[in-house]
Symmetry: C2
Subunit: 237 residues, 2 copies
């Protein structure tokens, strides 16, 4: 896998190279410095938001599972916390923290990881900013990723990253090229209990474009996901 | 007590009339239509946020206690929920709901009440808008008063007004005419756990002006209030 060193996201900046003689064409296509990694046969994808302040103190958010659209390479669903054994969650959190310490980052970092067979984890990419996989923290954590990012940048101490509810599910609202959102769609979505709709105000809807997201809180992931999906299904963007 | 029918707040628009021959001067001073009420010897002040949507559905927030500065007539502290017997809380919530139904209001209403000896309540004033006594709902309720106000105005269904934590305390940040907030002040306030600082961005600090507020969440009112006060005391505005 050739990965652009900068400005990669949602699979943009990645090119699979299956044979040596494909490498030069792939580099030309990327058009910028890249690094090469062995292709990873992962079982699931995890992510961890890590925020580091100017004094080096770190808050690590819960380890979440991210589910991508296989065709679009775009995150569809985030489940918080991830349903993994405690030892795996600890390992993922430790790797994510170490990665941000290694670059002496300040602010919020989205650390994306692959979960391998046997419970090992390896880092896929670091996003040096608030991240889609941390949007659930707005409603589900004591301090959101956005608040903590601003605190870090301002040189202030961080707030707790702990979850304040048992479970949260986030579903991205991807563009379908549909007409504008209707009042009935919005009211339908808002009628789902403990479910929060975020619309980004983008004027143009393109297929696969992130137009907003929905977060639902619940006692279990299954319950939260069912309600987040139910609300998202009513929002035709 | 003569009260201006509109545009009253924080005691502005109220004039105490102790004798009949003071009434005309008081009306002239108010300069707008007023109504007259018997002076109420209350024991404490309560408040309830009520939001009514366009279909008539109502969400009633928890009954809170508000504590005013005796000299400035400005709210200093809000305790949510109020420490009153359940029967008193039910009565206050019922009166507040009935008041908003009586005016067929749509949107958020701050209903201020007097708690009398013997547990009776009577309405002091209705604020037809999101209200200082409901700011705690940003962090402490499933849906904030601001979200529900917007939902109501948009013709959408309301979210739950229930508290998601055992206790919350809000302390207003009143202007002291001090110089600009320092980084050290802000960092000190943000170092208090589970405490949220809201600054309104007002350029001019005048004594008694509401410059912001602090909300702290906790397992008990005492704990939340102690932390809210601790953070507020560090913010010199």
């Amino acid at each position: 896998m050739l990965k652009a060193r900068r400005d990669g996201y949602d699979g943009h900046g990645n090119v699979v190279v299956r044979a040596e003689d494909e490498a030069q064409a792939a580099l030309t296509r990327l058009g910028r410095p890249a690094y090469a990694e062995a292709f990873v046969a992962f079982e699931r994808e995890l992510a961890v938001m890590v925020v580091r302040d100017q004094s080096g103190h770190i808050e690590v958010y819960p380890v979440v599972e991210t589910q991508q659209d296989p065709a679009l390479h775009i995150c569809r669903v985030v489940l918080a916390p991830a349903e993994v054994p405690p030892a795996v969650a600890e390992r993922a959190a430790g790797v994510a923290r170490a990665a941000v310490e290694a670059v002496a980052g300040v602010g919020a970092f989205g650390v994306e990881l692959f979960l391998l067979a046997g419970g090992q984890v390896c880092i896929n990419e670091l996003a040096p900013r608030p991240h889609n996989s941390g949007h659930y923290s707005i409603e589900a954590c004591a301090t959101s990723q956005f608040s903590n990012h601003v605190r870090a940048v301002l040189g202030a101490p961080l707030g707790s990253a702990r979850m304040t509810v048992p479970a949260a599910a986030m579903v991205n609202l991807l563009g379908s090229g549909a007409a504008a959102l209707t009042q009935a769609d919005l009211s339908g979505a808002l009628s789902v209990p403990d479910t929060y709709v975020h619309l980004y105000g983008k004027q143009e809807s393109r297929p696969g474009r992130k137009m907003g997201h929905v977060t639902a809180l619940g006692d279990t992931l299954e319950d939260a996901l069912a309600r987040a999906r139910s609300a998202a299904d009513r929002l035709h963007l």
